[in-house]
């Protein structure tokens, strides 16, 4: 083992972690890998493996604190299967998923408030069936509505190490676009005082931030 390491080859533990993750059918947490390998500390081995595979056709990635190997994204054009995308989501479902991901935990009523339209029961069911959304308990307010959150599978599927990696989430939060309308309204009204007209003027704090989101919207439109 020492010889191998001296040569720059992998050590025994690194080889064991590599073999374990190759063989696993599901992503594994560091704790699960460690348990499988008799309690070894696998953090270093994971880091070494990550570095080793960085330039290869297969990458080691961490998604929601679970590790797995997957093919390199730049090879997608070679590997993409001919058949249709396995799950083609409706626009309603993709919007719903985005709202759950960016606002979680969130109730159905809150989703509907943002979308301005009733959400068919089937929409959330599709997301739960896909394994991307789960019921995350109930909110302790009158009526005790069910609240929803995303799953580790959601992070794996969309290639996110954590929810912090959600595209644009920092900008959206800074712009107050993840706050409820009531809060934003209050902030605008309080910020400027008497007239709502002034509140919407470009000099107020909210007036600055939306520049970013404005650009973002334009980009999204181009992407679409």
């Amino acid at each position: 083992m020492n010889d191998a390491e001296a040569d720059g080859g992998p050590g025994d533990l690194e080889r064991a972690v590599e073999a374990t993750l190759f063989a696993a059918t599901e992503p594994m947490s560091a704790a699960a890998i460690s348990a499988h390998l008799g309690g070894a500390n696998v953090a270093e081995a994971l880091a070494a493996l990550g570095a080793h595979y960085a330039g290869r056709g297969v990458h080691l990635v961490e998604r929601g604190q679970r590790w797995h190997f997957q093919t390199a994204p730049d090879l997608a054009h070679l590997l993409r299967r001919e058949r249709e995308e396995p799950r083609r989501l409706s626009r309603a479902a993709t919007e719903c998923l985005a709202i759950v991901a960016y606002h979680e935990p969130v109730s159905r009523a809150e989703i509907e408030a943002i979308r301005g339209v009733q959400t068919a029961r089937g929409t959330l069911d599709v997301l739960m069936e896909a394994g991307w959304v789960r019921v995350a308990g109930r909110r302790e307010v009158p009526g005790r509505p069910v609240i929803y959150a995303t799953t580790p599978e959601f992070l794996s599927h969309f290639g996110l190490a954590s929810r912090r990696d959600l595209p644009g989430i920092d900008e959206l939060r800074a712009a107050g676009l993840l706050d409820p309308v009531e809060d934003a309204l209050e902030a605008v009204m309080a910020g400027v005082g008497a007239t709502a007209l002034e509140a919407a003027s470009p000099t107020d704090p909210l007036g600055e931030a939306p520049m970013n989101s404005g650009h973002g919207v334009a980009e999204a439109e181009e992407n679409a």
Binding site: F22, A23, A24, T25, H36, H59, H68, F69, Q70, A72, P73, A76, L79, R80, E85, P86, R91, A92, T94, E95, L97, A98, I99, A101, Y102, I114, R115, G116, V117, S156, H157, F158, G159, L160, L166, P167, G168, I169, L172, A175, L177, V181, L185, V188, A196, L197, A200, P202, L206, G207, P210, M211, S213, G214, G216, V217, E219, A220, E221, N223
Partner: protein, 269 residues
């Protein structure tokens, strides 16, 4: 940014609103199923103005929406109720925005317009976020997990634990549970009715004063009378004996109040 106007939110559309020229209305207006409700339609109309949602003219947006609904009605398209409700609300909002400010009510039309604007921003933000999410390298579409993983198996193997004391206790419990159980009805000390009759009538023979029934009972000092069950039996039997003697006219019974002491004396005959 347009600094020319003190009222960028509600100013007339002088900041690049080219929608009527750019988008021939007919193609747009013939289709209603394409929108998920009035907010969705409003957002689409707002985007056609190609300006930042922060600086959109709500008044123009309202005009566009109302024009859209008018045209749809002219084409005799069936309009969902929520589109019409939104149209009515926007018409109200428009009239309120055009009224002199002194006559405004609470909440002010500006606040209502701002609220609508904030909602459109939030919907637009989520729509953009959804598009960016869907465009990521997705597992099973762009990147792939191992096609044929061997799988990991953990075979659990029990190490059974038991000690000698547990074994002994278990055996003791079996023995106790299965040993034959003998049920025995114990002999109870009672005063029979005959004995009570004899005792009460004997004691009645001596006096004609009223005597409480309880005083006919044997005194508890005697060793066998200590048992309270025997005393209860004696009381019951003596009571029945008293009733029987009264029926035969050999005794008189009296009770001055309900649950009061039961008094007994020899019959007059």
């Amino acid at each position: 940014m347009t600094a020319d106007n003190s009222d960028p939110l509600f100013s007339a559309a002088d900041d690049g609103w080219d929608m009527p020229a750019a988008a021939p209305p007919v193609a747009l207006y013939l289709e209603l199923d394409g929108w998920e409700g009035p907010l969705d339609l409003l957002l689409d109309l707002a985007r056609r103005q190609k300006v930042d949602l922060r600086r959109i003219s709500i008044l123009d947006l309202v005009d566009q929406y109302l024009a859209y609904i008018d045209e749809a009605v002219e084409l005799r398209l069936e309009l969902a109720a929520d589109y019409l409700v939104m149209a009515a609300w926007l018409a109200y909002l428009k009239s309120a925005l055009l009224l002199p400010r002194e006559e405004q009510e609470d909440p002010s039309p500006e606040e209502l317009a701002l609220r609508l604007q904030l909602r459109l921003q939030r919907l637009a933000a989520m729509r953009e976020a959804a598009a960016r999410l869907m465009a990521r390298d997705r597992l099973g579409r762009d990147v792939f997990a191992r096609g044929a993983p061997e799988g990991l198996r953990v075979d659990r193997h029990h190490v059974w634990q038991c000690d000698l004391f547990a074994l002994m206790r278990a055996y003791g419990e079996v023995k106790l549970r299965t040993q034959p159980v003998v049920h025995m009805v114990r002999e109870r000390l009672v005063m029979t009715l005959d004995a009570a009759l004899a005792r009460v009538s004997a004691m009645l023979g001596v006096t004609r004063d009223w005597v409480e029934l309880r005083s006919f009972l044997p005194k508890p000092e005697g060793d066998t009378w200590a048992d309270p069950r025997l005393q209860r039996s004696a009381l019951a039997s003596s009571f029945v004996a008293a009733l029987e003697l009264a029926r035969l006219g050999k005794a008189e019974l009296a009770q001055e109040e309900v649950y009061g002491p039961l008094l007994l004396r020899r019959g007059a005959s």
